[in-house]
Amino acid sequence: MTRADRILIILVVCALPFLYARMWTGNTSAAYIQIQAGNNKPVTEELSADRTLHIHGPLGDSIIAVSHGRARFVSSPCRGQVCVQTGWLQTTGDLAACLPNRISLALLGQHPRFDTINF
C-alpha cells in the first residue's frame, strides 16, 4: 500500500458519513424565504437574518416575522386568519398563504423532504 492509497482510504472513510447525511437523509432546513404578493414575480431572500416584513396586498399589509431560520404570518387583514394559525414554517417546502390578501410564503432549500403537500 502506497502513501497515496492510505490517504485515499482515510478520505473515503471520512466522506462516507457526510455523503450519507447529504444525499440520503436530506438536510431539510431551509435557507431562503420566497414571498409572493398577488401574481407578481416572487421575491426570494435569505432566512438567516431576523426581521419583520410588511407585505402589501389588496386588503392591506400582512406582517411576516423571520426568526431563527423560520418564518410565519404574524398578522394579516383577513377574516379567517388561517395564515396566522398556520404558525411557523421551518423546513424546506413549507408553505403558507393568505388567500384573501393574495400573499404566500414558501421556504426553499436544497433537500425538501416532500415535493408537495396535500391538505
Binding site: M1, D5, L8, I9, V12, V13, A15, L16, L19, Y20, R22, M23, W24, Q36, G38, N39, P42, R79, G80, V82, T86, G87, W88, G93, L95, A97, L99, P100, R102, S104, A106, R113, F114, D115, T116, I117, N118, F119
Partner: protein
C-alpha cells in the same frame, strides 16, 4: 488486496453520489381559482416550463371565470336561465362539467350535490371572503332542504337543459377544482411534459416522477401543522383532501364549516377530514365531499358506489378509518399512537 479494499470503500461513495437527486424542478405559484396554484415540472427546458405554466395560469383564470357560480360568467348565466324553468342551451364550457357532476352526484346517493347552491349561499360560503359569523335562518334552511334540489332535477335533451325544481342552483365548488386540475394535466401533456405536479390549494395530481425517484407527497394533519402521512407517486395519481378546517366560522365556540350535508342543510359534523387517492382529480374531488358527508358510518357504502378504493377518513373523535388499499399505499408519519380502523376491502 489493498486495492480491492480501496475499491470496496469507493463503491458506496460512487453509489451515494450517483443516486442523489440533483435534477432541477421548475416551480411556479400563482393565485387563481380562489386559491394558490403550485406547478412543479421536472426535467424540461426552463423556457418550456415557463411557457407551459403561464398557459396553465391563463387556463385556470378562464375556467374560474366560466365556472364560478356567483360571479358573472357561463355558470352564473346558466343558473339564471335555470330559474326560468324553460329549455335553454347553456354555454358549451359548462355542459360537460354539469353532466359529469350529475353522474358523480348520482353515484354518491346525492351526498355530493352540485345543485345546492342556494344552501351554500345561505351559509355564506359562496363568496371568496368568509361569512361574517352569523347563523342562517333555520326556517330558510328547512325550506331549502324540503325542496330537495338535485342534479337529476335538470334534464338534458340534445344540448338543451330544462329545470324541474326551482330550488336548483349549481355551485361546483366541490368539483370544479378537480376538473380544472385534470384539464391542466392535459395541457401539460400537450406541451410534451410528462413529469409534473399540479397542486391547487392542497389538492393535487402528479404525473411521471422526479427524475430517478417517485414524487414524494406529504399529507398534512388536519389539526396540527405536521405531516400525518406520506406516499410516493410514480405514474398518474390524484390526492385530494376535504376538511372542516378549510373554510369555517365559529359561533359560541362551535365550528360551522363549508361542507354542507344536503339532507340536513347543516355542516356535516361527524368528520374532520377525508383523503382520497384516485387516478382522476375530478372524481377524487367529488368523492372527498361525498365521503365527508357520509361520515364514519356510511363512507364504505358510498366509496363502493363511487368506485373509490383508497380512502382515509378522520372522524370528529380522532379515529382514522381507512380502506386496506389505502393503508398499503400510504405511510403514517406520526410518532404518537393513532387509532386506525380498517374497513373491508372496497373492491
Amino acid at each position: 488486496m489493498y486495492r480491492a479494499l480501496l475499491f470496496s470503500l469507493l463503491l458506496p461513495v460512487i453509489f451515494l453520489t450517483g443516486c442523489s437527486n440533483t435534477g432541477t424542478v421548475f416551480k411556479d405559484r400563482f393565485f387563481a381559482f380562489g386559491t394558490l396554484i403550485e406547478v412543479s415540472i421536472y426535467g424540461v427546458d426552463p423556457a418550456l416550463a415557463t411557457r407551459a405554466s403561464a398557459q396553465i395560469e391563463q387556463d385556470f383564470l378562464t375556467m374560474h371565470s366560466n365556472w364560478h357560480a356567483w360571479q358573472p360568467g357561463a355558470l352564473s348565466t346558466t343558473n339564471e336561465q335555470l330559474t326560468t324553468m324553460q329549455p335553454f342551451t347553456p354555454d358549451p364550457s359548462v355542459l360537460p362539467l354539469l353532466q359529469e357532476a350529475g353522474r358523480l352526484s348520482q353515484l354518491s346517493n346525492g351526498l355530493f350535490n352540485p345543485a345546492i347552491g342556494n344552501l351554500i349561499a345561505l351559509w355564506g360560503f359562496h363568496d371568496n371572503a368568509l361569512p361574517a359569523g352569523t347563523l342562517p335562518d333555520t326556517a330558510a334552511i328547512t325550506t331549502l332542504v324540503e325542496q330537495a334540489p338535485d342534479a337529476n332535477d335538470v334534464t338534458l335533451t340534445g344540448t338543451q337543459l330544462v329545470n324541474h325544481n326551482p330550488a336548483v342552483s349549481y355551485d361546483l365548488g366541490a368539483f370544479a377544482k378537480g376538473y380544472a386540475i385534470d384539464r391542466a394535466i392535459e395541457r401539460l401533456r400537450e406541451f410534451g411534459i410528462q413529469n409534473a405536479i399540479i397542486n391547487a390549494g392542497g389538492d393535487l395530481r402528479a404525473i411521471g416522477q422526479h427524475g430517478d425517484r417517485p414524487w414524494r407527497i406529504g399529507i398534512r394533519h388536519p389539526r396540527q401543522n405536521t405531516i400525518l402521512a406520506s406516499l410516493e407517486i410514480d405514474g398518474d395519481t390524484s390526492v385530494f383532501t376535504s376538511g372542516d378546517y378549510e373554510r369555517f366560522f365559529e359561533v359560541d365556540g362551535k365550528r360551522y364549516h363549508h361542507i354542507i350535508d344536503p339532507r340536513s342543510g347543516y355542516p356535516a359534523d361527524k368528520t374532520t377530514s377525508v383523503t382520497v387517492i384516485h387516478d382522476n382529480a375530478a372524481t377524487a374531488d367529488a368523492a372527498t365531499t361525498a365521503l365527508f358527508v357520509a361520515g364514519p358510518d356510511d363512507w364504505v357504502e358510498i366509496a363502493r358506489n363511487m368506485h373509490i378504493g383508497l380512502v382515509m377518513l378522520i372522524s370528529a373523535d380522532d379515529i382514522i378509518y381507512m380502506s386496506p388499499a389505502m393503508q398499503s399505499r400510504i405511510r403514517i408519519e406520526q410518532d404518537t399512537a393513532v387509532e386506525i380502523r380498517l374497513s373491508e376491502p372496497l373492491s
